[in-house]
């Protein structure tokens, strides 16, 4: 009997270690402090979002242990930057550490550089079969993610330095969401990398991130898109804080699945076969990515519909962005049905995931570029 007892599944709270509790306490303290500082400026929904974020981030840290250091580190870097501002935006161009590292734009430029480096190092690691280089690739990706997250936090603060009526969470235009996209895609990949104990697929996932980084650089240097703009009335809503990030978990996951699809197709063709993980592993990573992406994309679309019911007078207006979101949703719904019900695997689904990225990209970018509608915040 004693032996049987020792196999009793431990309840969650017993499986948590001291570090988990410390992390949770830290987050709760941070959330309470944020509430004490800013609650006069927040409405009930925003206070609920703050509380919900704290709970969600604690849960994420408990579920994914790396998050326990990633999030506090990004926050610390951001707070360091914020503390150097002394409440003056102009210091971003004069204070040394802000100018070269911690102002939002500097941090984001570092993120871009680190992502490019990570891509190169991952590829070098893949081609030379060097585990050390692949580990470096992971390290660089983590570093890029820290700089990206910190950059977004600092940007949030900077927007309030421009004007108290200008300040808003940096997910309001195409430039900001592209940063969010690279960040989320990278973090999701890092999670699966650890989960499946394989770093070789990084070379492929980082390609799509690098493409997005290329876009960010062009958008910033050529179009000055990084300038912080105030929010038009339609965007002044707490819905934005949850609708946009949820959407980008979906986009990030779909982008990652497409790159895993490319890797799988190469393996099936025999290219890089001895260097990449087996087709089955890639296939399962792809499936996991699509299912999490599908869940978040569903939630995001529903949140979007609920926001539209507040802002545009109806939960569904067949606006091009809405319609394309539906098309993306239908596409992945069909993909999941084929896999789960028909039991398809391998080549056709990998191709489908790659094509899915084209559909997703059109919904994300193409609609803003070619079609007009209510969602006209991120024109090129």
């Amino acid at each position: 009997m004693e032996l049987a007892q020792s196999f009793v599944a431990q309840p969650l709270y017993k499986r948590l270690k001291l570090a988990d509790w410390l992390y949770a306490v830290l987050l709760v303290v941070a959330a309470v402090q944020a509430w004490r500082l800013y609650n006069p400026y927040m409405d009930g929904y925003e206070q609920a979002i703050l509380a919900g974020s704290a709970v969600g981030l604690v849960a994420l840290g408990w579920f994914w242990k790396s998050w326990r250091w990633f999030f506090p580190l990004s926050a610390t870097v951001a707070l360091l930057g914020i503390s150097l501002y002394h409440g003056e935006l102009a210091r971003g161009q004069s204070a040394f550490w802000l100018k070269f590292l911690l102002s939002s734009q500097s941090a984001i430029m570092w993120m871009c550089t680190l992502f490019f480096l990570a891509t190169l190092v991952y590829w070098a690691g893949l081609l030379t079969r060097s585990a050390m280089l692949s580990r470096m690739g992971s390290g660089l990706t983590w570093a890029a993610a820290v700089m990206g997250a910190a950059g977004l936090f600092v940007r949030w603060y900077e927007s309030y330095l421009i004007g108290s009526d200008v300040g808003h969470i940096p997910v309001s235009n195409l430039y900001e969401v592209f940063i969010l996209f690279t960040l989320i895609t990278a973090l999701m990949y890092l999670y699966y990398e650890a989960r499946f104990a394989t770093r070789q697929a990084g070379a492929f996932v980082l390609l799509v991130i690098s493409a997005a980084v290329g876009f960010i650089l062009w958008y910033s240097f050529d179009r000055q898109a990084h300038e912080i703009q105030p929010l038009i009335p339609a965007l002044q809503s707490w819905w934005m804080k949850i609708h946009v990030p949820a959407n980008f978990v979906g986009y990030g996951a779909f982008a990652m699945s497409a790159m895993l699809g490319v890797a799988e197709l190469l393996v099936l063709k025999g290219v890089l076969k001895d260097r990449l993980p087996s087709a089955e592993v890639l296939d399962e990573m792809m499936y996991k990515a699509i299912s999490i992406g599908f869940l978040f994309f569903t939630i995001a679309t529903i949140l979007g519909a609920m926001w539209a019911a507040d802002a545009w007078g109806g939960y569904w207006s067949w606006d091009p962005k809405e319609t394309w979101a539906l098309i993306v949703w239908l596409n992945y719904a069909a993909w999941l049905h084929i896999r789960l019900v028909k039991g398809w695997r391998g080549k056709p689904l990998a191709w489908w995931a790659v094509i899915g990225l084209l559909v997703t990209t059109f919904a994300f970018l193409g609609v803003n570029m070619y079609l007009t509608g209510l969602h006209s915040y991120g024109g090129l």
Binding site: Q5, A9, F221, H226, E227, E284, L295, T298, L330, V341
Partner: protein
């Protein structure tokens, strides 16, 4: 189901409609059909389509319902089939799934257990069923036992049956969402239009005259319509777009707009649109007062009132009308109302004066160094990329109004007039734009203002230019000055005076263009440059005298010439010349206004909304259950001297591998008694 009935046509249809391939086919068709509506702009006025596609294709596309794809019959049919297919899928698979959820499969034969991918047999010396039960309980399994005929005991355990529940949630959710959407869609309206009991109105007539077959009563379940209300005015209907016409929806209440607010950020972007409204119930007289703004609708009686747009609600305007054709006439005051038309009679001709909207704020970027990235050095670009805020020179250049002046023949010129003086290089101008076609940009002219910031001096100068009776006096003065400065010899005196008069006349007739035309026609090419310079010099000299003469005639004291005054005169020459392209008998100088704004409200009633939200919630729950609850089954079969462990799962083989290894090791230990 008997063998016979399996082959009937109905059953075959049932099988087809409830099949996966049919559902996938529908999803694909729906996706492709949806694309059409995003590529072709929906619900535009029909003439736009006719213009774009030509008559033939316009008619074809109209038949196909491409101008309102998402409400067309065929699109709704696809949706209906999707609902049908999903429903039948549930009907077909549901009973089996429920049975499966309940079942433990404790009667599985040894052969079938052995055939499983995850199946193993251990030697067992101490296979105590109680130990195994305790183990299963400790791991959170639910199980059922079965004593086989051969005496072996089967413990059939399972976990995660909710995964199947996810299937029900997600698929029923889709049906619920579609039904909710259908309730809010305009299907009943389309049907009523088809049988002819509702006919969209295509004429532009006052709301009160719209016939009953184009009106919808307050009992209409769902609608989404718009109405524009001016400040101080009320509305008790909204307008619904319908094909190439519109319908009028009666409301159970009256909406009165008390005040509309619009606020801008310092960079000119809109910051706030809000309407103070009062809603008066027609039956009870109960008044609800509230402010609606974007993202904050007001809900009264199940009808949501949204801030949708804004505009000019007809603001009284006052103008000073300068008669351009008969400049000696004194300017007269003209009153008008924006967004309205009125007749105008000028110099014996009738015009229709059609006012557009009054814009009180016009925020312009007076030179942005950052708009043009080309031609910048790398370090400048790096600097730009580091800054999240770029300095701009934004300026509110004040109120403006647009209006059209249409003559008897229907030809119209459109004008865009600013009210306030606009400073450029320290000089104040009145700016007015003109264009003859809507597709063209406005051509702006700048009329210089005098020290009192009025047009009087400019108009006085122009009047003198237009008055040949003054030319002798002007020419005399100009010639005298030229003589004084020894620019001409006494012999040339008369000829010079004639030249001055001729140039004045020519300029008065057609501005610089007229002089240029003359040069092009009459002067050899090689001499044009020199002659043109002479003309300009004479004109620039004479304009001083024109002004002096004009001032003298008006009984004003002579003003000493200085740089500023001279600049004013030169600007005036440009202004007088430009007025020849103005093509209007009068110049309407905006003097004042009393802004009356209008708010565009959208009113909706959508009873299906809550159903859609319920369905959405079910959908999310369903997806979570399906993807993140793993259905796992485990069998322990205690046989004499050995124990078989078998496991199966609906998916995720990698996780099952790990679980199987873990349970295998644990159970092996338990049954060995060590």
């Amino acid at each position: 189901m008997t063998k016979n009935s399996r082959h009937t046509a109905v059953y075959k249809l049932y099988e087809l409609f409830s099949s996966m391939r049919f559902a996938i086919g529908l999803l694909t068709i729906l996706a492709i059909a949806s694309i059409i509506g995003t590529v072709l702009k929906q619900n535009e006025p029909y003439p736009n389509y006719a213009f774009e596609f030509g008559q033939y294709w316009f008619a074809v596309f109209e038949q196909l319902g491409l101008y309102d794809v998402y409400h067309s019959g065929w699109f709704l049919t696809i949706l209906a089939f999707l609902v049908l297919s999903t429903t039948l899928c549930i009907v077909r698979n549901g009973p089996g799934f429920i049975k499966d959820m309940k079942a433990y499969r404790e009667k599985a034969s040894d052969n079938s257990l052995a055939a499983m991918k995850h199946s193993v047999v251990f030697d067992a010396t101490a296979a105590d069923p109680d130990t195994l039960r305790a183990y299963l309980r400790g791991q959170g399994w639910r199980w059922r036992e079965h004593q086989r005929a051969d005496g072996s005991l089967v413990l059939a355990a399972k976990k995660g049956a909710a995964s199947k529940l996810g299937y029900f949630f997600a698929h029923i959710a889709l049906v619920v969402i579609c039904i909710g959407g259908l309730m809010d869609g305009n299907l009943p309206l389309k049907l009523a239009e088809m049988v002819g009991s509702v006919v969209p109105e295509t004429r532009d007539i006052p709301q009160s005259q719209i016939p009953p077959q184009s009106r919808l009563s307050t009992s209409n379940l769902s609608f989404r319509g718009n109405v524009t209300v001016a400040e101080g005015k009320s509305a008790d209907v909204v307008f619904l777009n319908s094909g190439n016409g519109y319908l009028v929806q009666d409301l159970p209440f009256t909406v009165t707009l008390k005040k509309f607010y619009v606020d801008y950020y310092s960079n000119g972007m809109p910051k706030l649109f809000a309407s103070d409204i009062a809603v008066t119930d027609k039956a009870t007289g109960k008044v609800t007062e509230a402010q609606v703004k974007v993202n904050h609708p007001l809900i009264v009686d199940g009808v949501a009132i949204y801030q949708a747009s804004f505009g000019d609600g007809g603001s009284p305007l006052t103008f000073k009308a300068w008669n351009l054709d008969q400049p000696q006439m004194q300017p007269v005051a003209i009153n008008g109302v924006s967004m309205a038309a009125q007749p105008l009679r000028a110099n014996g001709k009738d015009y229709n004066l059609e006012f557009g909207d009054l814009r009180v704020f016009n925020i312009e970027n007076m030179g942005n160094k950052n708009t043009d990235a080309s031609g910048k050095s790398l370090s400048e670009r790096m600097q730009d990329a580091r800054e999240v805020k770029h300095e701009k020179q934004l300026k509110n250049i004040g109120p403006s109004v647009t209006f059209k002046l249409r003559d008897k023949q229907g030809q119209a010129m459109e004008f865009h007039h600013y009210m306030a003086p606009i400073q450029q290089d320290g000089v104040s101008y009145l700016v007015a734009g003109v264009r003859s076609k809507v597709s063209e940009p406005f051509q702006y002219l700048r009329l210089p203002l005098d020290d009192q910031l009025s047009l009087d001096s400019f108009m006085r100068l122009r009047t003198a230019f237009m008055n040949p009776a003054l030319y002798d006096e002007i020419a005399k003065r100009t010639t005298a000055k030229a003589m004084q400065g020894s620019a001409i010899s006494p012999a040339m005196q008369q000829q010079f005076a004639n030249s001055v008069k001729w140039i004045l006349g020519r300029f008065a007739q057609g501005g610089f263009v007229a002089l240029e035309q003359f040069l092009d026609e009459k002067v050899p090419q090689d001499k044009r440059q020199a002659v043109a310079q002479t003309y300009v010099k004479i004109l620039q000299g004479a304009v001083v005298d024109v002004m002096d003469v004009a001032d003298a005639k008006a009984g004003l004291k002579p003003v000493a010439m200085d740089g500023k005054r001279y600049r004013f005169l030169l600007d005036s020459l440009v202004g007088i010349s430009a007025l020849h392209d103005y093509n209007a008998p009068v110049f309407l100088q905006l003097q004042g206004f009393n802004q009356v704004q209008a708010s565009g409200l959208q009113l909706t009633r959508s009873p299906g909304k809550n159903l859609v939200y319920l369905g959405s919630l079910m959908l999310v729950i369903g997806i979570v259950l399906m993807f993140y609850i793993r259905e796992v089954r485990l069998w322990i079969c205690c046989m004499p001297g050995s124990v078989r462990l078998a496991m199966s799962s609906n998916r995720h083989n990698r996780d099952l591998d790990a679980d199987f290894r873990r349970h295998g090791e644990a159970i092996q230990q338990l049954v060995r008694g060590k």
